[in-house]
């Protein structure tokens, strides 16, 4: 097992002169039936991979936009199990890798025995668990060992050099570089040391580095995409999809294209 499907999608994208663009969606925001439509739209619009968020009762790493989307999804009765089943139902139509972002407790309730096989059956090739730092990741890593599902680690601005080394060494899929000290959500500016931080990360890592948290405008996508191998855009996508502003989504994705010639 190579766990390389997500990595390959990003590398191929970079080889074509584009930066990777991974939109985050809150699964079930607007009802379970919208999930297929949203994923197929994002695929057609040029997403490199899609981060599928699972709603949770206590999302401590999320800002207001994603919290509210999560509450809407919870009100629809959305659970990890329902999302897995739904994703499996249209797997054949999805050519880009899906990555699930979920807090740990729903995964523990789902069952570590079946999570890897069910992810593969649903076209999910990565898991991002924001409350599972490297030190605690062993159990889930073991559960995913013989699968194509990568356990994607986050690196923060506060991570010291030796921690970054350790995380980079253990990295699978890509490294999720958190670009702000804080929770998810739209921001107007980023810290000054970010450029050097992302450069050090890229140097330490054998998998691509994607920047995420606070990225909300085409300009952010160009700037931060230029510093990393691509970007993850969450709150801005969630808001645009909720409001039916599909052109805004296209504009954000298009800002990641033809990056290498621009930068």
């Amino acid at each position: 097992m190579t766990k390389k499907l997500v990595t390959q999608a990003i590398v191929q994208c970079n080889e074509q002169g584009d930066k990777a663009f991974v939109p985050y969606i809150m699964a079930g925001d607007g009802g379970l039936q919208t999930l297929k439509k949203t994923i197929l739209f994002l695929q057609e619009a040029g997403a490199t991979a899609i981060e599928v968020g699972i709603p949770f009762s206590d999302p401590v790493a999320d800002g207001d936009v994603i919290q509210q989307a999560g509450e809407r999804a919870l009100a629809e009765g959305i659970t990890l199990r329902k999302i897995m089943t739904e994703l499996a139902s249209f797997k054949e139509e999805v050519q880009i890798p899906l990555v699930i972002m979920t807090y740990l407790n729903p995964v523990l309730s789902y069952g570590l025995q079946s999570i890897a096989a069910d992810c593969e059956a649903s076209g999910v090739y990565g898991l991002i668990v924001p409350d599972l730092p490297l030190e605690e990741s062993g159990l889930l890593k073991e559960a995913l060992k013989n699968s194509e599902v990568a356990l994607i680690q986050l690196v923060s601005l506060t991570s010291p050099a030796e921690r970054i080394e350790a995380i980079a060494k253990a990295a699978e899929g890509f490294i999720y570089a958190v670009t702000v000290n804080g929770i998810t959500g739209v921001r107007s500016s980023f810290t000054e040391g970010l450029e050097g931080h992302l450069e050090r990360l890229k140097a330490a890592s054998s998998v691509p580095v994607l920047a995420g948290f606070g990225i909300s405008t085409p300009e952010h996508v160009r700037t931060l995409g230029g510093l990393a191998d691509g970007v993850i855009v969450g709150s801005a996508i969630v808001t645009a999809l909720h409001e039916g502003e599909y052109e805004k989504v296209r504009t954000l994705i298009n800002a990641s294209k033809n990056q290498l010639t621009n930068s």
């Binding site: 206590d58 659970t79 789902y110 409350d131 990741s137 923060s156 000290n181």
Partner: protein, 396 residues
Amino acid sequence: MTTETKGRYGKFGGQFVPETLMTALQELETAYEEAQQDPAFSKELDYYLKEFVGRETPLFFAERLTKHAGGAKIYLKREDLNHTGAHKINNSLGQALLAIRMGKKKIVAETGAGQHGVATATACALLGLECVVFMGKEDIRRQELNVFRMELLGTKVVSVDKGSGTLKDAVNEALRYWVSNVEDTHYILGSALGPHPFPQIVRDFQRVIGDETRKQIVEHEGRLPDAVVACIGGGSNAIGMFHPFVDDQDVKLYGVEAAGSGISTGKHAAAIAGKQEGVLHGAYMYVLQDEDGFIQEAHSISAGLDYPAVGPEHCHLADIKRVQYDSVTDQQALEAVQLLSRVEGIIPALESAHAVYYAVQLAKEMKEDELLVICLSGRGDKDMQTVRDALGGQSI
């Protein structure tokens, strides 16, 4: 969960937090280890505990309560007599001094009943620290006067209307605030919960309760007690009381969870009774949750016990059967508030009243020459409105 041994109590505990907080937790761990080695730190803490908080608190022989129960001799550890009215100040002061050692001038905290918020606001006023406290909207309604007390002490109180608007949501919001302000802010967690090293730090700052009790009961009776009873929300007063007795196998320890309207109604806060394991607020614990792993709301008449999990060390003590955990309903706690008020002239906090009710039942089954200690964790002034409403708003 056997992947990591640091900060584990059996299989419970751990550090299940966003990466951004890992460095802060490691800094805290190092700073705390250094503080423990530094005699000047404990000297300063002891000074404030004695001169500011009023320790040591008495271990009072409750003669009329003993007669009423008609069994074991009952002693009350009077944590209600601490400055600010509960045991919470022991931890708030300790952690505020630790924050100063770490060069952090800003404090964030959560509060349920408001006791930890008031204690932290007090410590911050005493030591000149800036303080913001997150409190659930529902708790603000229940504990209006505590909000005013915090504001009077110079603390900013932020209402949390997300989720159930109670303690768990206040912790979520305090954690989010800490992630966003981690470089200059220390989070003073109020119970023996959260990611390592918090459960250990809170326990160590609260163990003064058990250490004093041990010494005092020997002074009074020449021997250790046969039973010790404390209420459990997150479990800070209980772990502080129990910890010095854990190795004394002859001292039976009893933790009392809040059964709310009754365990069978589903409206309760008894996470150990629920027996479901999971991760919340950075630790692996017994957690009230549904089959999809979503955390459920806790229910208790006492805001301080209204939390859907129990600290990791208690979970372990339950697992190895060193402590027996049972539960007491809202109604029974209300009975105990009235009982203790009338027979001893002490109005207990609703939280502590859970322990009082349980202890009276337990004492009845014990012999007259046996000794029972209740941790009376707080005074009841804050609950007068709640108790009056629950008793039908009439004079009694």
